[in-house]
Amino acid sequence: MSISLHTADVPRSLRPVHTRGDRIFRLGARGVGAFVLVLVGAIGLFLGAQLVPTLHRYGLHFFTENRWIPNRDIVGVSAAILGTVEVAVMALLIAFPLALATALYISEYAPPRLRNFLTLLVDLMAAVPSIVYGVWGYFQLQPYAKLISRWLAEYVGWFPLFQVPGGQPHSASWPKSNFVQSPFIASLVVSMMVVPLACAVMRNVFAQAPLHEREAAMALGATRWGVIRSVVLPFGRAGIVGGTMLGLGRALGETIAVLLILSTSYDLSIHPLHVNGVTLSSFIANGFNEATSGQLSALLAAGFVLFCMTLVVNTLAAMIVNRSRSGATTEI
């Protein structure tokens, strides 16, 4: 009769054996990952720390005051927050259908050879520096965009959002200067930067739509649009939302193109078609040179507000994309 050596009925420790190379690589990878976290955390902390002197100096008026008058030391971000949201939301409204249609065309309709070329082109859009977009927007787009603004003001101007104060869109000699350098035109340009980002995410998700589900729809006699509607869009829903929100993060932070196009004013008004406006990033860039040290803190605190906005938006986007159907539920 043999005697069992393992008499204790407790879980054994199962310790994997790592080679030296494994350990070094693991340490390195962990270090790089930690560095990224520390870096983002440090930026957040640095910006957040500026809130203390800012709130000390300006109080909660910092959030409610809309003006920026350095020599009278009046500083507030409400107009900038409003303008940021205004430009970002409009950019998204323009970019979303464009990105969705482009992604669908590339993944579902385009012949394979054209598909690669178009993907490259869209990715190239992301590589164009934003200053180039800004200049393009100012000189090439604006002369036409202001006509759209006028048309909108003329025909849907009864709706407050489309009003242009002092615009007189009906008159033959309409004051063109009221229709240029507006949040609307800035958002048009920003949308061009959002499209490739959102499109890339959507395209990737659409391409993962399971073949067996596509075939199921096709075998039932579905058209291509039917396959898209019944399989691709339901599967890619999270990618659509996530990609759009990732684009939103980009739109919130865009600086130089907005700075070039938007003529700065700190009015608390929502007239996107009307000249003037400000966003958080253009607010910071604008005020940087003339700021005293106390005002500099305020600008950095404004940066913290922007940092938090983009952080929330991007985190939400990542959560939505990660929670998407990874195919687990389609397996049997």
């Binding site: 394979p112 075939e215 199921a216 729809a217 075998a219 039932l220 539920t329």
Partner: protein
């Protein structure tokens, strides 16, 4: 090469036989430059279940996918020959792809319900996709009728709103059969419908096939010889020699193919000596 006896029809004469006559004539197929099927001709009659048997890679699934124009959805896929559905070539200039697929339904190897749609929506998906307008009551009737015909109604009638992806594998496959039946096809293609299922689910599907036999012309690809013997009345044995495109070695009444095969290769295969 293939001579089809008019089999099993004596038996079916007593039934009201619906379904269409499907006739493949000299069908060849390529993927890119590789030829995978060589001049396959087969006549498939209503009221008769046709089983396509043969080892892997012999082209039987390709042949099946040619019968409802799914073959051409693969990039680089080509074909020659004709497939006549009640006398009309489905690849002819007057035939629309979508109409063909509506008439020739398909059930796949892997159960593929739309996972986020409810059970009822899955069954009615074909109606929506083909733009068939039905009112709520008619839709509910169709859902019940098709689920009953697929042998699933009693199991799901209390949870029609649940997601199709939440069913077991065997139930999902019967849901797919119900979904295919909802567009009222005259032919139903089944590509190894039981290969991912357990024995009791397999038996359930085989019963379903037997029940549907007179309503719709059924063509089934199977690796399982016993299954072919159980469910089919006509059988076609496919084989691809090394490096050669596949083709039909022998076809005819299932009883004869299994009991008295004329070709030695058929005899070897049905007796389990290779494949």
């Amino acid at each position: 090469m293939t001579t089809i006896a008019p089999p099993a029809q004596r038996e079916s004469a007593a039934h009201d036989v619906r379904g269409a006559h499907l006739d493949a004539v000299d069908v060849s197929a390529w993927f890119g430059t590789k030829k995978v099927l060589e001049r396959v001709s087969l006549s498939m009659d209503p009221g008769v279940v046709t089983a396509l048997i043969g080892p892997s890679g012999c082209g039987k699934s390709t042949f099946l996918r040619i019968l409802n124009r799914m073959h051409e959805s693969v990039p680089g896929a080509q074909l020659a020959g004709e497939v006549r559905l009640d006398g009309t070539d489905i690849y002819g200039p007057g035939s629309r792809l979508i109409d063909t697929r509506k008439q020739v339904g398909m059930v796949f190897q892997k159960p593929n319900p739309f996972p986020t749609m409810s059970i009822a929506d899955n069954v009615a998906a074909g109606l929506r996709l083909t733009g068939t307008k039905v009112d709520r009551r008619a839709r509910a009737e169709i859902v019940e009728r098709c689920l009953s015909r697929a042998g699933l109604w009693s199991e799901v009638k209390d949870r029609l709103g649940d997601a199709g992806g939440a069913l077991s594998g065997g139930q999902q496959q019967r849901l797919c059969i119900a979904r295919a039946l909802a567009v009222e096809p005259s032919v139903l293609l089944m590509d190894e419908p039981c290969s991912a299922l357990d024995p009791s689910s397999t038996r359930r599907i085989e019963e379903t096939i037997a029940e549907l036999r007179y309503d719709v012309t059924i063509i089934i690809v199977t690796h399982n010889m016993q299954q072919a013997a159980r469910v089919s009345q006509q059988c076609a044995f496919f084989l691809a020699e090394q490096g050669q495109p596949g083709g039909i070695v022998e076809s005819g009444e299932t009883d004869r193919i299994f009991g008295d095969p004329r070709d030695r290769r058929t005899a070897d295969y049905v007796n389990g000596r290779f494949g």
